[in-house]
Symmetry: D2
Subunit: 351 residues, 4 copies
């Protein structure tokens, strides 16, 4: 990983670096951060001569070789110094709250607009809403492009950043054209590597954030981080890791709550962890407990399904959406726990 | 379940009731609570004539038939009105903190005495300490009766209530003779029904509390409550339910954290839930997160392995015991979360 | 589901049927079988008037309404009568053996050609070989289009049908252009619905078979069948269901062997089950046991990683590939068990 | 582990050996095999001087130090040479079949006698029948001592060896007084170490066999072998290891079938593996598949719930017992697979 002295390499400098690494069978992948870019050497980056020649360039500050399977996601990676701003929040410096319905009902746009206003009023930063849905059965409602217009209109009305899930490249093109702020990859696509790589390269150098859900089996931390590495190594460092419960489920819940993985992730990566308690427990009455537990485990925020009138929602909303009133109370309490929790971090803040 | 008008039936009244139910093939099990006793009808308790005859007795206030597989543990059972006092705390009215080493080292009693004083100073209510240990290997240290004297001496010095695990009837006799306050049943014996029944009947009518760990597989709520029903139906209603992580483990932890079961338990039973975060995560740095998450899920308290100098401990202490300083901070924060959490209970306080 | 009297509807007949169902908000999906086609009514197919009008057409033999979430995969579906021929075998009438390396090494084509000849000699029907590989890490070898030429050459030399995995639409186009016989969808894409639907529609009416691996979490039978329903409802009934072990793994194996799901699948669907013991156990010495167990559970065949010289293989081959000599012995024994097992089928053969 | 030149040490020789090891803080545990005894050194057996002094005794053939956590169960242990005869079978030299009802119904002894005759006729070697039952609920039928008389009478009538489960020392005394051939420890007591040790020492030097079920969580091989080590190190080497399905269950089965653990066990231990397919799948129609799969994985036998008229059985019989006719066919096919499987053993027979 090449860290330049200035915030970015000039095109001429980049060309010079690329020429050097290509002699050693490597290539350069630019990772464009908000404040500065860094330059990953893909291939076997341990050639001593190659590193020495790059270090000899006066516009290069440092070359870091991270001995980790996921060298960009690793906590020791230079990316750890990057900052991600989203919905008016510097992620990590204060908790992030993403809320909104599971699925946007294109027949009832007002329900969504009212929910959006209520999410804002409750203190949410990002508005979520499903346009397309991965559905177990091919005959179930699969979403509707018209819902995207509703999501965009809600952003225009509230000023909230917006978040929606994509399942294929066609979706991605549509949402990127519309300037959606957060692109979500669902649990079923958590290891769909072509999609992850495609999202990373299509959003390289943009402000788009990628919210990456954890896969459904009780997969190891390393696999989760490696999936994020696909996005980041393709050029976009703005990733959020989202545990959402695993299978086999705990009897009485939709999945087995897994917010506890937060502190295992934090031990290994710099990336923010935003927990989804709604899919984890799958019942509205149990969401607040799971949301607060996520904060207790050190999460940087939560993504909570919220609906102005859950029983009128579609998709998972009737069962697992909480009301804006509950959300408001939950946000206040989550902030308190976020503060209490900081002193116990496995990797305590240096200050 | 027969609820008398007075706090208890007189021997003559009990005899009269027993005579009636025996005509219908049932028998009476007295459940002795701190403030009053109730009388379970074991057998098919739904004979209308039998119930009518009992209701006709002027010293009987009510006969409750609970339509639940675990009629005494059920949240609708009369036992829900009972109060359990332990270590100076009314359980449920404020959080309960049990702390101390995994295993008492009989060669170093002072380490235990110092830990006991530190637990008290940190705000703990009950002092835990293993006298005997269920060990995977027959050749490992299996405990030492001498350790019980150390535990008793620590109680004498600090005034803390004391807690230790028993694995067989011989252990139980020894600890009951010594007046141990809390008898713990470990995860490996969670479904050892003869032992559970034996403990329930040997402690019937006493102040002894039984801390029942959850079994290690990801067992359903009903199985956990049914195990507690063995103890209670044998005569002792003073049970605490203790989740402690399940198998298969989450990669990076000793078990899969399962504090989330707390709110599923609370939906079905009146019994207090005391979570063990130490066995759940198995690494000291991760214990505070798990402990606070338990409170966020609505636990009534925690049991945390604590040692004055973990690296000098035996058993699990070097890996998973926290220090008294961490315990003190944890207790303060746990109290805060306990307060925040109350408003979200699936069964909210009536006030 | 409309079953015509003749083997297929004429274009004019199809148009007439489509006109009727469109009046009721439904549409027709043709499922092209080897011997005849059937016509699924997508949408709410239970309108009595609609069904009566279709039944009134003299070229329609029957209209079946299957009350099942996966109406085409259901064992009661008309598709149960279809026959699938692959590699010279009528699947179901005798066991099918798919074998070959995990990954084709483009630098050593001869290893692959020799393995192909040996697979044929051992009695295999289909030759497997990975051209592209879903890899946990973005920096690992991801496959090489050149490997496809090697696979095609091996088919030309041996006459075996060939099988390779696709992860994205680009791969699919390439393999369909090349006339690959079996398109494999891996465990990571088991619920990648856009890909499944795309494969189903691109291969509709062709002889291409789709081998669908089970997802990695211990997912229910219904989810597996619903994933296959995506392929079939898009037009291609030639699906093979492939259990390959689930997570969490059994300690000592790569996954938790799940060949036992075979008889649960057979109870609900007509589709053939081809078990992959290699990924299930992940160690060559343990593959034969798992392969024979699959036959004992009623599998219609197995797909086994085989390499002429496993230690010279790439990908998973050094660890989990068996030799052709073992394959030959295994095929003979698998045939024996296949015969023994038939009398115990949960859905016994009608003869 | 001390192996004497003769089949056993004389009392004087044993005394001499005990005197030596006691100088080094160790003690001797005699393991009484059918043909000869060996003498385990408990404690730190690696003192060179101690070993040399023992080797100097002319009646000592060998001293083996096994570097394994379970030194007696280990495949390299001297116990591997022992032979276990049960029900007329030399276990390991031909497959062993244990069959009979889940639970003996004391009200219908004839059902049991008829089942016993049918089990014998079908080719079974050992007759199983539950006298006492570990039941999830304290109010369920817990068994009846009278059932033991029925079991003994069935042995008298058929000559079959008999097998029943014990849950506590009181049960053990009763069955040992009655001379029951196989004492079963159920899954709930799989890690009840005091019970295991008690059984081992009470049966030391006898012909009694201990059938040890695997615990219900997906526990590692090492834990299973360590549990058996408790029995063996207490003096009885006649143990059978019995996988019976694990939790979390596979949707559609009672547990997750785990017969695949057989080959992992066989890699590490000399002990025979007898699989229980009945509890694994929990449905009679699925038992034969699981039973044959167990043989394919290299099991030394099976224990199958069988009832002359399953729907008239109690306990688990109506759901999971097969008929004697199915048992007969199953035994024949299991023998075939047992033969086929032998050539693939991870530890192939030396001949």
């Amino acid at each position: 990983m090449i860290i330049p002295r200035a915030s970015r390499l000039t095109p001429e400098q980049l060309l010079e670096v690329e020429k050097i690494v290509s002699e050693f069978g490597c290539r350069i992948q630019t990772i464009v951060g908000a404040e500065r870019s860094i330059y990953a050497i893909l291939g076997d980056e341990r050639h001593e001569t190659m590193i020495n020649r790059i270090l000899g360039l006066d516009y290069v500050a440092r070359v870091d070789a991270i001995d980790s399977p996921y060298k960009l996601m690793d906590i020791k990676s230079t990316l750890a110094d990057g900052k991600l701003r989203l919905g008016g929040v510097e992620v990590g410096a204060e908790p992030l709250f993403i809320a909104g319905p599971c699925t946007i009902d294109p027949k009832n746009p007002n329900l969504f607009y009212e929910t959006a206003e209520a999410v804002k009023e409750a203190g949410g930063h990002v508005l979520r809403g499903g346009v397309w849905k991965p559905r177990t059965m091919p005959y179930s409602y699969q979403g509707d492009n018209a819902a995207l217009d509703i999501l965009l209109e809600a952003r225009a009305r509230t000023g909230l950043a917006i978040n929606t899930e994509v399942m294929e490249p066609e979706h991605l093109s549509i949402v990127l054209d519309a300037g959606v702020d957060v692109v979500q990859v669902g649990a079923r696509n958590a290891l769909n590597y072509p999609l992850l790589r495609h999202i990373g390269s299509r959003t390289a150098g943009s402000n788009t954030t990628v919210l990456l859900k954890r896969g459904r089996p009780m997969a190891p931390v390393d696999e989760f981080l490696a999936a994020a590495e696909y996005v980041v190594s393709a050029g976009n460092p703005n990733v959020l890791l989202c545990p959402r419960g695993t299978l086999p489920s705990m009897d009485g819940y939709r999945n087995h709550p897994d917010e506890s993985i937060t502190q295992l992730l934090k031990e290994k990566t710099w990336a923010a962890v935003i927990v989804d308690p709604s899919h984890s427990v799958g019942r509205a009455a149990f969401v607040p407990g799971a949301a607060l537990a996520a904060m207790a485990y050190g999460a940087d925020g939560i993504v909570v399904e919220t609906h102005i009138d859950p029983k009128c929602g579609i998709g998972d909303d009737p069962k697992q959406s909480i009301t804006p009133a509950t959300l408001k109370s939950l946000i206040a309490d989550a902030r308190e726990i976020w503060k209490l929790r900081r002193k116990y971090s496995p990797t305590p803040p240096s200050s």
